[in-house]
Symmetry: C2
Subunit: 359 residues, 2 copies
DNA sequence: CTGAAAGCGCTTACAG
DNA sequence: CTGAAAGCGCTTACAG
């Protein structure tokens, strides 16, 4: 006694074939290439499938077609931490535009059991956009083993891997020059967090930005080792900024300017400063990095280094989709950064315009 | 002549078996259950696999284990639009917490070829968190066919489907009562966009909030059909807010208060008002919905209805993971909302405290 | 401790 | 226009 209602058991192509008195081939064709079948057979099969409540198994389909229709984004941190930073929604927005156009889904792949390395073999995706990876421990090798295309964003990519970066060095240097040009001496640099202990060991984006700050300092005859310059790290979140501010402000001689590697951290610093009634920019100048939408709406509006976040995501996804469709040349793109001067920076109090150079 | 380097061809379990002189079973065990093998065999196999650059095929694995280790989030709109609204990163944050704990990846599943219905059968996930779906056209049926568990958030869910909602009615009514209590008469309600044309046809979250506004109005002897009350729709983005403001403000008699269904829309309205030098709250009161982190940092700080966005995501993911592990009861949760009064609302100009009731 | 074999649910030449 | 069969790359009873 067969039920006419949607069965409780998952129905497969074989059951439909049996029920319809045709082969599995015919059933498959009815859905994927009806032109191979007589209209009558096709509609008969579809009717049976409908009655049985058939839903094709996407895994089995992937198994034979050898593709999943999903793009992966390999994240350096867990999803919750990642989403704390508005950088990512923007970045995913860019990727999402391409997913929409190409009919792909998007898989967020965080480290598995604390390890990016372990996550790589497990994700059922056709390729990866790898973002912010501090390459070192064989992630690239692991990705190669997977034999799926990948595009690296904000990382030091090997020449044979497509890559998107922004001109971090230039942007960071501009930020530092801006601050120095205003006469600041006691300067704190707030880096993004890294698993590396010492900033001298940073690689990738972090290293490039740090080198930019250094270059700016050197133009003024200063250096990172300068007693008046300090480098700390904070997580890319408002909370990280609050914490960084607190640490810096409790110092015996707090900085008059803080340069951060992330707007969201800078916004947290703004929050914390306001809570302690520290006036920005008069008592404390603050510079961000990213130019998130909220940067312009902050109080005061945030001086920051703009980078084209959404464009990075879009371009990365485009390269990936392209690599999926055909063997393509591994190009390296470097997108521009730009210093946006707003209200969160000015000359330090009682500095009396310390510099006489006009440049 | 076998290469000692990572082969260019994808290597499979069979090749390793042949190379190591063992069965495929043994190779599988070497990775998944080494205790079944003598230590020597196991390490021999692993060495060969390492040399060949083996990476297990996740699809094939999924095919036999019947699971993908991925949770899906079924989105009502494309990824780019979705990411415009900071609601989603927050929501995904909640889901992400659970993914991290359970070792799952997270798949964003937007409509495919413009259709949620078509996306459902295609996603290789173990289950779905369905969010903001205006159920009508068989999505639930389609989900059932898939024979995977799903949890519905912000939707009218059938009794036998686990669901998370917030008390939209109560929150919306509180917002309206607040505005009416301040003496506003000309009020605009800015709804979230829907594919439905007329607000009378709204379902789910939209309908619940609208009913809340209506209840608030009725407490003051007013109604939605009131000539001084207008209802429009706008997309959940800053741009949507800007557009809504423009439309409303160009009216012959613009509202003195705007109540929105989304903070990000309200923030866009704040932007647009500032750009037109319209003073908030004196000339225009604005109320949001969500209480995003940026609401408190806006200028002026936004009066809004707080809902526990991250908790919704977390709870939904927890229910889903639970359903994945065992048959479980389909519970319906309703989380609390709360009116947060900040600086974006006050009595209208020249209103002279129009009401004499004290309640 | 190890292997031969079946099976997961599809797709796709190939033959008729 | 239709069907029998092989195959995608694994896992897992089952037997030895």
């Amino acid at each position: 006694m067969r039920s006419r209602r949607v069965s409780h058991q998952k129905v497969t192509i074989s059951q439909i074939a049996k029920e319809a008195g045709v082969s599995k081939t015919a059933v498959s064709f009815a859905f994927n290439d009806p032109s191979q079948l007589s209209p009558a057979t096709a509609s008969h099969i579809r009717a049976i499938a409908e009655r049985l409540g058939y839903s094709p198994d996407p895994i089995a389909r992937s198994m034979t077609t050898r593709q999943t229709n999903a793009l992966g984004v390999l994240l350096p941190q867990d999803i919750a931490t990642t989403m704390d930073n508005p950088f990512f929604p923007q970045f995913l927005r860019g990727i999402g535009v391409v997913c929409g156009a190409a009919g792909k889904t998007l898989m967020l792949v965080p480290p598995l059991w604390g390890s990016v390395l372990k996550a790589i073999p497990h994700a059922t995706v056709d390729g990866f956009v790898v973002v912010g990876l501090e390459v070192d421990r064989g992630e690239v090798q692991q990705l190669r083993r997977r034999h799926v295309p990948f595009v690296m964003v904000d990382s030091d990519a090997p020449d044979d891997v497509p890559a998107i970066n922004v001109d971090d060095h230039c942007g960071a240097r501009a930020a530092m020059l801006h601050i120095l040009g205003q006469g600041h001496r006691r300067i704190a640099i707030v880096c993004l967090e890294s698993w590396r202990q010492r900033y001298e060991e940073y690689t990738g984006t972090l290293a490039a930005r740090l080198a930019g700050y250094r270059a700016g300092l050197e133009a003024y005859g200063r250096s990172l080792d300068d007693g008046d310059v300090q480098v700390i790290a904070a997580s890319a979140s408002r909370a990280g900024g609050v914490e960084a501010f607190t640490r810096l402000w409790n110092d015996q001689s707090p900085p008059t300017a803080i340069i951060t590697m992330s707007d969201i951290t800078a916004l947290g610093i703004l929050d914390a400063a306001a809570a302690r009634s520290v006036r920005v920019p008069e008592q404390l100048a603050v510079v961000g990095f990213d130019d998130l939408p909220e940067a312009a709406h902050a109080t005061p509006p945030l001086t920051t280094v703009r980078q084209p976040i959404e464009a990075k995501g879009k371009l990365a996804a485009e390269l990936l989709v392209q690599a999926l469709e055909q063997e393509s040349e591994p190009v390296h793109h470097v997108l521009r950064t730009e210093l946006i001067i707003r209200g969160s920076t000015c000359a330090p109090l009682r500095s009396g315009r310390a510099n006489n150079e006009s440049a």
